[in-house]
Amino acid sequence: VFGLGTKQNSTDEEAMVRFQNGDTKAFDLLLHRHSTGVLRFIVKMVKVTNSEAEDLLQEVFLKVIEHRKKYDSNQKFTTWLYTLARNHCIDYLRVEKHRHHISLDTSYSNGGESDGPVILEIIRNREKNQEERAMDKEMQVLLDKGIEDLKEEYREVFLLREIEGLSFKEIAEITQVPLSTVKSRLRYAYQNLREVFIKVGYFDEKQRAKEV
């Protein structure tokens, strides 16, 4: 209502600068644009329930509000945002890992048992269900599981690239590793995910035979 209003087509960086200058509509715009992406990143990265993921997302955006003055307009906004999101997820994982460590026997045995039936069920279902849509659904569940099982370093690179489409350079900046490392990590991520599908028998067996 007051001032210049919030242009819907302004860049993230412009919006963030306006937010720094007190325009809360600009913050709403950024929230609207990136909340889903960040939530998706969180869900895949730390594998929590939806409400827990929402809490984490809220904490990430609270950091955006709190540290708004620290944002440098020369930096891409998504790089900054996902640095906050990624660091927050890693902190969360550290705490979770520590907690799991304490109750090691229960969580490990439970995890191992619950994994098996999922894959078995998919194999069984696949034989019955030949429709493509159902197959995609299956593959999504499988992929989810695959991503969850990826090493943390591979997972974050894969998610940053595929959710937000960040460049390798930006990912290198966020994860603070060399560009070549980002490239190899993404490659490992894809190779591992492909292995998951091959194990279940999705991709052509003949190719696999040739490979061996």
């Binding site: 007051f2 909340s35 993921a53 997302l57 992929l143 390798f168 995910l193 599908f197």
Partner: protein, 360 residues
């Protein structure tokens, strides 16, 4: 034959291993243009690598095809609210937002216009060029008492009297308000006795306000003059209080006039004009002896400033309050009038007018 085929196969696998490293970069389009061409060529000839690329693409497609997680609007709303609250804490930034707002200029300018209209519009009734003489005359006819200070005993005599009997005047500094109240009722009486116009009411209000303010200022100076006493104030004392009060007031006027004259001497014409005008606007009206000096000072200042019309006005006022200086004022008025006429005839040639001014 068999060994040859095996060799070819091995070479192919080695090739593919090399290309395997580039496959993701190729898919993500983060690859050197030269390398891309090489990969492209290889993909045409190698079904193994092209199949693998398709598989990677399929994984990506599945990942991007999944339904996006839904975020409750409650979370978004609460975040938005927090952002607004946080920004509100940042007051300078909030004002900055206003500052950049294009709505600010019209709002401020209209507010300013309204203020000027209210402030000067009302002041004009009492004191403004052009109108002031008329309104003053009208006022003088209607309320003869308002022209002269109604309170008697202005001057040193009163002070001497008061100083000779220090214990009799004011019991406490805070009890200055009774004279102020008295003052208020006096002015109100005057206002109601004659046809009660808005201007008089204004004068009355102003009188009350100023005497109230005055009572606060008085406290310190009064403390030196007299000591508190237990005696109950009689009617006689009341009148003495009024005398002292008017003495104090005239003293205040004298101080203000001195300040104005000092400012004039320092060449601070604008400020001097302000001080003098404030003095003349004060109610009850200052004594003629002070008015005379104030009008003269004002006229000189306006003359210096080049605002001859106002200068003439003040000389006229001077004539009114001081018959001694009437002829001197008349002389000045004639002189300034000539200048004004000269200026108006040469308005189209401002340079000439300036020259004329200089020669004069």
């Amino acid at each position: 034959m068999k060994s040859k085929e095996l060799k070819r196969c091995k070479k192919q696998i080695m090739d593919c291993e090399r290309f395997e490293e580039l496959l993701i970069d190729f898919m993500e389009d983060e690859i050197d243009p030269s390398e891309r061409e090489v990969v492209k060529k290889h993909l045409v000839t190698c079904p193994y690598c092209s199949k693998r690329l398709e598989e990677y693409k399929k994984i990506r497609r599945i990942f991007n095809g999944e339904t996006l997680p839904e975020l409750s609007s409650q979370v978004l709303a609460s975040l938005s609210k927090i952002a607004r609250e946080e920004v509100a804490k940042d007051k300078p930034l909030f004002w900055k937002r206003w500052f950049y707002s294009p709505i600010l200029v019209p709002v401020l300018s209209s507010a300013l216009a309204l203020f000027l209209w209210i402030y000067y519009g009302q002041k004009n009734i009492e004191h403004s060029p052009g109108e002031s003489i008329l309104s003053r005359e009208v006022m003088a006819k209607k309320v003869p008492a308002a022209k002269e200070p109604a309170l008697p005993g202005v001057g040193e005599k009163t002070l001497e009297k008061l100083e000779s009997k220090p214990g009799h005047v004011l019991s406490k500094p805070s009890s200055v308000s009774p004279p102020a109240l008295k003052e208020k009722s006096r002015i109100q009486e005057e206002a109601t006795s004659s046809s009660g116009s808005l201007s008089k009411e204004l004068v009355a209000r102003k009188g009350v306000k100023e005497s109230d303010q005055f009572s606060e200022n008085e406290e310190k100076s009064l403390g030196k003059l007299e000591r508190p006493t237990e005696e109950a104030p009689t009617q006689k004392e009341e009148s003495k209080k009024a005398e002292l009060y008017s003495y104090q007031e005239s003293n205040k006027y004298q101080k203000q006039l001195d300040l104005a004259l000092k400012q004039q001497r320092e060449g601070n014409c604008e400020v001097s004009i302000k001080t003098n005008e404030e003095l003349l606007k004060a109610s009850p009206s200052p004594p003629d002896s002070l008015k005379e000096k104030a009008y003269l000072s004002l006229a000189e200042c306006y003359e210096q400033k080049g605002d001859w019309e106002k200068a003439i006005l003040n000389y006229r006022n001077l004539q009114e309050v001081s018959p001694d200086k009437a002829s001197f004022a008349e002389h000045r008025i004639q002189d300034l009038r000539q200048r004004l006429i000269l200026l108006k005839t040469r308005e189209s040639r401002p340079a000439d007018a300036e020259e004329g001014q200089k020669t004069k």
